[in-house]
């Protein structure tokens, strides 16, 4: 369960939205945060991370702005928009439905 391609389709979007709902952060930090929050279980590779961020930005769920980073360089910070917040709620609900459904099937009787 380490590669993001193994994630259920659309799950990465949910993870990104969830992480960004905590505070605005840049790409590197997002990857780190996902790793920490999942107890090092999930690693999001660069090949999936940035296209996903750009796509969410196009969809208007997150917006980007440049700001100084912890090592005093310029970094692109992403933050959740109002419609992103709504989308997070919907995606979370969707995920819960899906995961409980899968659990029902997978769980030994």
């Amino acid at each position: 369960m380490s590669k993001p391609t193994d994630l259920v389709q659309g799950t990465l979007d949910l993870l990104l939205l969830r992480v960004l709902s905590l505070e605005p952060m840049h790409g590197w930090a997002i990857a780190q945060r996902i790793r920490q929050m999942s107890n090092e279980q999930l690693r999001v590779g660069q090949s999936a991370l940035y296209p996903a961020l750009h796509k969410l930005e196009q969809q208007g769920w997150i917006e980007a702005e440049w700001g100084p980073s912890e090592n005093n360089r310029r970094a692109k910070y992403y933050k959740l928009t109002a419609s992103g917040r709504k989308a997070l709620k919907a995606e979370t609900a969707q995920w819960e439905r899906l995961s409980s459904a899968i659990t029902l099937i997978v769980k030994p009787v």
């Binding site: 660069q46 090949s47 940035y50 296209p51 996903a52 750009h54 208007g60 980073s69 360089r73 970094a75």
Partner: protein, 893 residues
């Protein structure tokens, strides 16, 4: 809000590409730096750390590409690069590109000209909510004719009845002489009811307009409103004109304001320069006579009311009027049309749109021919490009890449051609509009380039792109790198492709056959119009109009003035005789009262016979060259005091007194109800209206200017030679010498009046000229196209011909074989073209004179012409092929 932000993001990615790219690079670089730092922290050397980090990123460029994909602009970006690539390609083949662009431009040009002029005629009036405006016309049941005017008392009844109209305004056109500061201008004037401007919802450019509170009639101190163009031209747009006094036809008027700039009146083909109250050009007596149709009506339909509903409600009132006034209104109905489609007049409602559509189809055919031509070029080029496409395919271009490339190439050609053609075409339309004049009718054509025209041309551009790009694209999508790259596959092509190419050539020939036949029919109409013996010595008569009333002459002074003019002009050396008339043959002015024989009930619109009335002097018939068949013409014994007399034409005699000698009999006219007219002479049926040529003669009678008043007259001067035009300056000077202030205008020969005026042959001649240009253009395009196709076909078959010759086919037979092929194309094209011509001929039947839509002379001429020229065109490639050296062609591969 969301979509605006999305749009902004996308536009930013598209328009500020460098900036977005830089940011993307910086963002990934930042990530990379973190990775490197991590590796260094774990103890790797800076170089190793960098390598490891790059490996982890899996290639910065790939990541960038993925992000670009995510931004969803791939299509635009690839099209952008396709455009750049295609432009490079097209620059590489300058001859092909120039030929293709020019051909499309030649096809679009006539469309642009025609669309600009047509859109000018059918553009909504520049007034408030123009889409709710309708016009009225009178019809009488059992009579197919449509009258442009409505009886004024009827209009008042419609106004006071319950109808779904918010306003009904009366107006009419007249030409006047306006005198200010001692100089006089001849102007088109609109006489209007008080609510005319408020019905149109117009606001003044200066001062005020004529208002409903001014009442229907002029009152003691008549007012006038100037058009913006006349105000600018004559008074330098100075506001001091408001409140000034001007003289119109000799009477004092106060200028109260200026109409808005865009507004040119409500008659499409004329530009009205001054607006005056209705009554001043129609006497109260005429206006209150229910039996005379006196005013044009424009009305505003209430919002949300359908035209049918309005028609029904007007019909109800018409029924009531018919019951209330049976003597005048029996069978009288009012027709309601949308103003925009009843142009220039309700009479044209069934003709003008048809004519517009016909001309759009004809210019469309020219564009189709041009497209077929360019498609032929593309296909010929495509054969040479088969290898290129196959190589691209082999190198990994997808089918859709190749298709897109072909479409983009076609699009570029179409865009360039459309722009070039549109600029040329619109410029032509403008210069045509500025030079187009007809005698006695200051034609106004509005050649603004507007949105309607722009979008129409845009549509044509898309259609031409598809026409010239789709087939090459389909072929590109079928390219198979394996078979198309193999040796020797390039020179012969399949039967299907040959068929397509020949079909294209045939289609071009068919289109030009249709255009030439249409043109031929118009030319034949003009010929037959001119070949009719009109019964005038048209080239021996000079017309010159004057209006002493413009500077204040009353009827008596004018009469005395004309006697002096008569003597002065008659004494000119080249002049044989002089006469005067209030109206001219094939002119726009006319008077058409109802008449009845004296022993019949008094004439009304329901019981009388409609006849043309002319006011002339005694020498009129001799001067224009019409013989007197019986009786006498007017002389000095016919005075205001003596019994009123008339000269009639045979048609009138036959209708009132069939089979009897009309001389000495009397009839009444509803315009001169007080006294009957005694017939003193009979003249033959001579056409004064276009419809009379090849159609039934209109009953017509002439009364004497010695007995009735006519202040504005047109002198008819008969020259001793057949070149009356040479008299122009001497006649004008002779009149000016008597009173230099009297305006003299519209001085030209009767011949010009007949052949160039709008009521004369001008429409037919104009149509012949336009279709002639189109026909020649189409023919030239089709010939170039056919020649291209034939010589290409021959070239593509070089190998086949070589083999056949090697097996003993004689050059002569090769020649005949190829010529037969070009004939088969031509014959096929001619057959289809003739079928199209019949369809077009059916549509234009109503616009032809003295010629049937399947006129054998026209058809034979066109077929011979096309057949002959296409033989010539086929001859050259065939001869070249028959001289082929078989050995060489076989070695060629």
């Amino acid at each position: 809000m969301r979509w605006t932000r999305k749009l902004r993001l996308r536009l930013r990615s598209l328009l500020r590409r460098d900036r977005v790219e830089d940011e993307l690079a910086e963002e990934l670089q930042y990530h990379l730096q973190h990775l490197i730092d991590d590796h260094i922290a774990a103890g790797a050397s800076p170089n190793d750390a960098r390598d490891a980090a790059l490996r982890e990123m899996g290639g910065i460029e790939q990541r960038k590409e993925e992000c670009r994909d995510a931004r969803g602009l791939r299509l635009i970006e690839t099209v952008y690069s396709d455009v750049r690539y295609s432009l490079r390609q097209l620059r590489k083949y300058p001859v092909f590109t120039t030929a293709a662009v020019l051909t499309i431009a030649l096809g679009i040009g006539p469309n642009a000209t025609m669309a600009t002029l047509i859109s000018g005629v059918f553009r909504p009036l520049p007034v408030g909510d123009a889409n709710r405006l309708v016009v009225f016309a009178t019809t009488i049941s059992g009579n197919p004719r449509i009258w442009q005017r409505v009886a004024y008392p009827d209009l008042q009844d419609y106004r006071s009845s319950e109808t779904p109209f918010s306003d009904m305004a009366a107006w009419d056109l007249t030409s006047v002489s306006l005198t200010v500061d001692g100089s006089t201008d001849r102007l088109i004037a609109t006489a209007v009811s008080g609510n005319y401007f408020s019905t149109l919802r117009l606001d003044p450019a200066s001062g005020r307009l004529i208002l409903p509170s001014d009442g229907e009639f002029g009152g003691a101190q008549p007012i006038a409103v100037l058009s913006h163009s006349y105000w600018s031209r004559r008074f330098g747009a100075s506001t001091s004109i408001v409140g000034r006094e001007v003289r119109i036809d000799g009477r004092p008027f106060t200028v109260v304001g200026v109409a808005p700039e865009q507004f040119r009146g409500t008659f499409t083909l004329l530009s009205s320069e001054v607006y005056v109250p209705l009554e001043l050009f129609q006497s109260q007596a005429r206006l209150s006579n229910r039996d005379i149709l006196t005013v044009r009506v424009i009305a505003r339909l209430k919002t949300g009311v359908a035209l049918d509903q309005a028609r029904a409600s007007i019909g109800t009132v018409a029924n009531r009027l018919e019951r209330d006034h049976p003597t005048t209104n029996a069978g009288r109905r009012i027709h309601v049309y949308w103003e925009r489609f009843a142009r220039p007049e309700p009479q044209n409602v069934s003709q003008a749109p048809v004519l517009a559509a016909l001309f759009l189809i004809l210019v469309g055919a020219v564009l189709l021919i041009a497209c077929a031509n360019v498609l032929g070029l593309f296909l010929a080029k495509g054969l040479g490009r088969g290898r290129e496409m196959a190589i691209r395919r082999a190198l990994g271009a997808s089918r859709s890449d190749l298709v897109r490339l072909c479409v983009v190439e076609a699009l570029i050609i179409a865009v360039l051609g459309t722009c070039g053609g549109a600029i040329a075409g619109v410029t032509l339309a403008r210069s045509l509009a500025s030079v187009a004049t007809t005698p006695g009718f200051p034609l106004f054509l509005d050649a603004h380039f507007d949105w309607t025209t722009t979008s129409y041309l845009g549509l044509l551009m898309v259609v031409s792109t598809l026409l010239i790009g789709l087939l090459p694209a389909l072929r590109a999508s079928r390219v198979d790198p394996r078979s198309d790259l193999s040796e020797g596959k390039t020179s012969t092509e399949g039967r299907r492709r040959q068929l397509i190419r020949k079909g294209l050539a045939a289609a071009q020939i068919a289109g030009s056959v249709m255009l030439l036949v249409v043109c031929g029919l118009f030319i034949r109409s003009v010929q037959s119009l001119h070949s009719v013996d009109l019964g005038f010595d048209a080239n021996r008569v000079l017309l010159a109009s004057t209006d002493p009333g413009a500077i204040g002459y009353d009827a008596e002074r004018a009469r005395a003035f004309y006697e002096l003019v008569d003597t002065a002009v008659e004494s000119l050396p080249e002049v044989e005789s002089v006469a005067a008339s209030v109206f001219v043959p094939f002119g726009t002015g006319n008077s058409t009262p109802y008449i009845a024989a004296e022993d019949q009930p008094p004439p009304s619109s329901t019981t009388g016979l409609l006849a043309d009335k002319h006011l002339v002097t005694g020498d009129y018939f001799r001067t224009i060259g019409t013989p007197l068949l019986r009786g006498r013409t007017f002389s000095t014994i016919d005075t205001k005091q003596s019994p009123k007399v008339a000269v009639i034409n045979e048609a009138l005699a036959a209708r009132l007194w069939p089979g009897k000698d009309p001389v000495g009999r009397r009839f009444r006219s509803n315009a001169e109800l007080e006294a009957p007219l005694a017939v003193i002479g009979v003249v033959p049926n001579v056409p004064y209206r276009r419809g009379e040529i090849g159609g039934p003669a209109v009953p017509r009678f002439f009364v004497s200017l010695g007995q009735f008043d006519g202040v504005a007259r047109t002198l008819h001067v008969r020259s001793r030679t057949a070149a009356a035009a040479t008299l122009t300056s001497s006649v004008t000077e002779a009149i000016r010498r008597l009173d230099s202030a009297v305006p003299v205008y519209d001085v030209y020969t009767l011949e010009r009046q007949i052949s160039d005026s709008g009521a004369g042959f001008a429409p037919a001649r104009g149509a012949a000229a336009i279709t002639g240009v189109l026909g020649v253009l189409a023919l030239a395009l089709a010939l170039v196209g056919t020649y291209g196709v034939l010589s290409f076909t021959v070239r593509a078959r070089t190998r086949e011909i070589g083999i056949r010759m090697a097996f003993g086919l004689s050059p002569n037979r090769v020649f005949r074989m190829l010529l037969r092929e070009s004939w088969s194309i031509a014959l096929f094209g001619i057959a289809i073209g003739l079928a199209l011509s019949f369809a077009a001929g059916k549509v234009m039947e109503g616009f032809l004179f003295g010629v049937v839509p399947y006129d054998p002379v026209t058809l034979l001429t066109v077929v011979t012409l096309i057949g002959g020229i296409s033989t010539l065109v086929g001859f050259l490639p065939a001869r070249r092929a028959s001289r082929t050296n078989p050995i060489e062609t076989l070695r060629y591969e």
